[in-house]
Symmetry: D2
């Protein structure tokens, strides 16, 4: 089992964009990863009813050396990119172009997830790097289709998403982040 | 100038609903107002762009004994009513049935506005009562039409809504609440 | 089992204070409880280390007809009382005069707990009334001593406080509120 | 006027620590600054009264090529450093060893300030780099003494700190951050 199999692929695998200044060569990124915390965003995609209450949580299903794993929409913030634009870019990358995500109006995240290369410092762990992730709950109202390496997007009730069996299918502590999100929307029991 | 002219009409003027248990007679409500803090919600209706950034704030324009005044969507939470249902009810009452408000997924308000009958204790004042209001920023995507006693709904940029000239047109401190909302969405300069 | 045994005593059992205007007769309060949501505060007392990380949660132990139950610091906001003053008053009432609580600088609660007389509408239930409670995590640095009807104040680690066995000792959903608080401080796993 | 005179010195000027892995050579840091957003923390030091209400804001006074400027406690998060430890380190660096800061229990910041090298994208600007800063209000109860390059620490009331004359003495938009902080604690009028 390698580290890269445990977690979603680093987002430097994405195709180039019109603003290439935020892109690093694989060598540069590897070097930076050993020296600086990297800024990430985590989005928990949800379906809400008319009164805003969360009725379902969207989890990506991927296959790796550990077998099937679930994950959130997650990725790096690039140089000269606003946090809200990074959220939008990663949501589109993982859920497809017609997911119609509603990025929150406020930059205040519901929490900050600190992924350390050393396990046990926080609830979050990333063997590749020290990543600090601003976490947001993002209602989506359109069609979500798995992209790239994801096999499926499963919509679970808040209770299902927090259940121990589902929690065991996350890596790096992202299950705890789902529970924190459900606590914040008042759906953790 | 009377107190009732200074602020939007008390929401006990609303027509009855199918669940009348939350309604008090005018005499009972007057009595309760002198003895208990009343629970309110304040909604700041906003227009957002695709990345969730606030581009406009919707303010109600009313006419009273003080002349034209601006106000937010505001009202009481009824007995056995969820906060998110109270938000939805007041948004529909003030913005009309096709405003398509997106009530936030989390019950965490951006602030709690404490309106005291005595001025100067907080930034908020309501001569009629002690009201404690949970304040939310609510993006709306549909058509908003003034209802009942409102003359108009004006959409201002965040900068305009925070300008001193506009702030002078609020009563009871609701201008400060607009500024707090714009601070929370990162649009106060 | 009676309703009053299920939950901490209503805070109208408190001795009179210099400002009696916020006090209702038992008859009046009973009448209001059937007609209006009552405004409450819930405080989760915690011990923090030098870096602010939560190391323990303080839970009150009471005895009632259900046997031993755990509870948070909780109570009503009175007429003309600020939310932060209500927090301070209830913290002193339940933890004693030298607990040295640090009431948060911001009125933004980490959540709003809606206790309905009907079970199942939210995670929170109060057979006596519809109470809407602003919930805060409050670090305390002094000596905490059980007051009035509390037998003890037990300090548990966040993990212990969220464990199923401890959760089973709460009533009205306050266990869920502890989990939500631990999620918010990053200590729910 | 140079960029380095406009803003507090980069925190790579600090003396080495026992964990040197988070330190970059000046050349490496200059290179990284052109390619990645850097993670920062901003702390707004405040004095609070017994009920947690903010009574004063602590602002650092520095002298540079622009003359006297005010600033917040601000600095980079290092590799393998928790956000709360970075806050504590920078508070001690700028306010001295006996300031007794109370780092918040929750990692949820009141806002995220995005400093872009290009002015006008957000309210925040840093000509040296793209910095994304988690912003916290931090009550301090001890003695605060200016350290290093700061001439003084001035304690202003919330109203004074938000006044236009004081706001004009900040650079990079940190005045707007003070206003956002005061809005969040309910002290912006």
């Amino acid at each position: 089992m390698t580290a890269s199999a445990e977690l979603p692929p680093p987002d430097d695998w994405e195709p180039p964009t019109p603003n290439p200044s935020g892109w690093l060569t694989p060598e540069d990124l590897a070097s930076v990863r050993a020296q600086l915390p990297l800024l990430y965003v985590d989005a928990i995609p949800v379906r809400v009813d008319d009164s805003g209450d969360v009725v379902a949580v969207g989890l990506l299903l991927r296959v790796g050396s550990r077998g099937l794993t679930r994950s959130l929409v997650s990725g790096r913030v690039l140089f000269h990119e606003r946090v809200r634009d990074a959220l939008l870019r990663h949501l589109e990358k993982d859920l497809g172009p017609v997911a119609l995500p509603r990025v929150p109006a406020s930059p205040q995240p519901f929490t900050v997830a600190e992924y350390f290369p050393t396990p046990g410092i926080t609830a979050f762990h990333d063997p590749r790097q020290h990543a600090v992730s601003l976490a947001y709950v993002v209602p989506v109202s359109g069609d979500c289709r798995p992209q790239q390496d994801a096999l499926d997007i499963a919509w679970l009730t808040p209770e299902e998403a927090c259940a121990d069996t589902v929690q065991a299918e996350f890596v790096g502590g992202q299950g705890a982040l789902v529970r924190q999100a459900m606590a914040w929307v008042g759906r953790l029991t």
